[in-house]
């Protein structure tokens, strides 16, 4: 259980990095609160695994420091940092039984055998493999192997933090849900700091207090699920979070008035924008109102997804998605308006706030 500080961490896999693109991890400067549950979300190759490996000490960062509770641990080994990590690809020790696999991290640390037994039995129960405890781990299915991998991460109760790298990818949806709630329970019970990598945004949003969105080797936003939804700091977050993602439209901005290829929208504030920046307007499909008044659109497709309908349309020569309620009518000459409070303005892909 520890507060983890990443102090200007950068990492390049190759030697002698010079330009920013040489870095797989570009400047991460961030504090993970003691006992916090964080979801790490981002596209493939954005540096999630790299970041976890740096926290656990499997990888030495090219630059920067790591502090646990204020103490510099940058040069400490994985073992000394006392971190548990569950890997993206399940690792099991083939020649051991399921039980011994789970007991391995404890026995290596000379935990008394009765304590080992208590912990292992508990974890076996949790991952639902009690009946296979004495079986060789060799012949197990992929999802059973992943459960063992997960179990080995959870078996130690005294860790500073547990890092999960997409631990539930091959597990079926129901079991996924069960394991996730078990994880939440364990987190509450033991209060370890938890970082959870996932591709699945529902998983991230339901699981974590804070969601960390990474993009191209950088953390682009850290916030509660609501913050990510309402005020995406970067157009990537808007696009990545939410289904469908945020509509991002090229916009000319003059004071508090926005020109979207001829269509004018008034803002409640006047964003301050540096000269020459590429400006865009972002609006979530949920906040676009479809009706008989406003700006004209032409509808190309309506997708029915149960309680809602997604309308795909063309607006100001751009594709736009609109979410309407399942009973919402779609007029013959459709027009749209934007909910003024939900409009976000971006300069060079970064949000320009009305507040700030």
């Amino acid at each position: 259980m520890a507060r983890i500080n990443l102090d200007h961490i950068r990492h390049a896999y190759g030697p002698n990095p010079t330009k920013p693109s040489d870095y797989s991890l570009k400047e991460v400067h961030h504090e993970w609160n003691d006992g916090g549950a964080y979801a790490l979300l981002g596209p493939s190759g954005c540096g999630k695994t790299t970041l976890l490996n740096i926290i656990s000490g499997l990888l030495q960062p090219s630059e920067g420091k790591i502090l646990f509770d204020g103490k510099d641990v940058t040069n400490l080994s994985t073992q000394e940092r006392n971190i548990a990590q569950v890997f993206q690809f399940p690792v099991i020790y083939d020649t051991m039984t399921v039980y011994d696999n789970l007991a391995f991290p404890l026995r290596n640390r000379k935990v008394p055998e009765n304590e080992v037994d208590r912990r292992v039995t508990e974890i076996l129960e949790m991952i639902g493999l009690s009946d296979r405890a004495k079986k060789k781990a060799q012949g197990l299915t992929a999802d059973q192997k992943q459960k063992i991998s997960l179990g080995r991460g959870l078996v130690r109760s005294d860790v500073s933090a547990i890092l999960f790298d997409e631990p539930l990818t091959v597990i079926d949806p129901h079991m996924k849900w069960v394991l996730r709630s078990q994880l939440k329970r364990l987190h509450k019970q033991f209060g370890f700091t938890m970082v959870y990598v996932t591709h699945d945004q529902t998983e991230a949003l339901t699981f974590a207090d804070k969601v960390v969105v990474m993009y191209d080797g950088e953390i682009v936003q850290i916030g509660t699920p609501a913050e990510l939804f309402e005020k995406p700091k970067h157009t990537f977050v808007g696009y990545f979070i939410g289904s469908p993602g945020m509509n991002v439209l090229p916009a000319k901005i003059d004071g508090s008035s926005v020109d979207l290829d001829g269509q004018k929208v008034a803002l409640s504030f006047a964003p301050k924008i540096a000269a020459g920046a590429k400006t865009e307007l972002g609006i979530r499909p949920e906040f676009v109102r479809l009706g008989r008044e406003g700006m004209p659109v032409s509808i190309s497709k309506v997708e029915d997804i149960g309680r809602q309908k997604i309308v795909r349309a063309t607006f100001a020569n751009r594709p736009i998605a609109i979410v309407v309620h399942e009973d919402g009518e779609i007029p013959a000459a459709p027009k749209i308006t934007f909910d003024p409070a939900a409009i976000n303005i971006y300069a060079d892909s970064w949000r320009v706030g009305g507040e700030a």
């Binding site: 971190i83 020790y93 991290p105």
Partner: protein, 288 residues
């Protein structure tokens, strides 16, 4: 799906059958033929039944040679297998060191047997050999020509020098196939160096080790050329292995019957031992 039954398939396997017949079955049957008959030349043969087999099995010569073979194979396996594993574990996994090590390791394997023998025969000579001369110069008495212990040491060291690389290369192949994630997980789990070897590396090397063990056993049990070149079976009969004894019987004394019987016994021993090793090792794998 319906299967077609006809005899055309036999034509397909015919070339293989012919090839195997000429390369294995016919020579083997010739040996069997000699082993049950007696001949005094002139292509006259007399039925001898199992006489030659009984003669061979009752001779001290056979049992002494067999004992030497077993001791020799036992010693070199006990040294080459652990040594091979140890070297493979310490070989570099990335960088320029990899090709350099691989080439260095392969070199002894590329040298023909009789050349290896000759190299060591000269190397160990007290008058002109680097090894023999040096040992002599620093006051260690060494002479493989008339000292039994020295002769054995020379043969064993030579075999280790020649063949440990094979074990190394096989083990190395097993080691590099282990994904990085295993070592990372071991670090997270706090595994000691020994635990990493015992639970990650050794299980992954198990198959190649079985192959290495069998190859080294069979090869060392059939050893002929090197001791023939270096010691010629001496001093006395101290390094007369079954193969050397066989050649002495067949070509030296021209006793074709006993030699043929000995060949077959020799062949069956190797087959039997290899089969036993294989079964024991694969079974222990399945059980544990």
């Amino acid at each position: 799906m319906e299967k077609t039954w006809n005899n055309k398939a036999w034509f397909m396997v015919l070339p293989v059958l012919v090839l195997v017949a000429f390369s294995a079955v016919i020579p083997l049957m010739t040996v069997v033929n000699y082993s049950v008959q007696d001949t005094f030349g002139n292509n006259e043969f007399f039925w001898a039944g199992t006489d030659w087999f009984i003669q061979v099995l009752q001779s001290d010569r056979f049992w002494d040679a067999l004992t030497r073979n077993l001791i020799f194979s036992g010693i070199i396996l006990a040294i080459e297998i652990p040594l091979g594993i140890l070297i493979a574990l310490n070989m570099p996994k990335t960088g320029l060191g990899v090709p350099v090590c691989l080439v260095l390791m392969s070199l002894p394997l590329l040298i023909p047997w009789n050349v290896v023998g000759t190299i060591w025969q000269v190397f160990g000579r007290v008058d002109i050999g680097l090894l023999g001369y040096t040992l002599d110069a620093i006051g260690i008495p060494y002479n493989y020509v008339n000292n039994v212990f020295d002769a054995w040491v020379t043969l064993i060291v030579m075999d280790i020098w020649h063949w440990t690389s094979l074990v190394v290369l096989l083990c190395y192949a097993g080691l590099v196939s282990i994904p990085d994630a295993y070592y990372q997980a071991a670090k997270i789990d706090g595994a000691s160096r020994w635990a990493v070897f015992r639970y990650i590396q050794l299980p992954k090397m198990k198959r190649v080790l079985l192959i290495a063990f069998l190859l080294r056993f069979m090869d060392s049990f059939m050893i002929y050329t090197e001791p023939f070149v270096v010691t010629g079976g001496g001093p006395g009969n101290a390094t007369t292995f079954l193969s050397i004894d066989l050649v002495k019987t067949a070509i030296g004394q021209f006793d074709l019957g006993p030699a043929a019987a000995l060949s077959l016994i020799y062949f069956l021993i190797i087959l039997l031992l290899s089969w036993i090793f294989y079964t024991v090792m694969t079974n222990s794998d399945a059980q544990s």
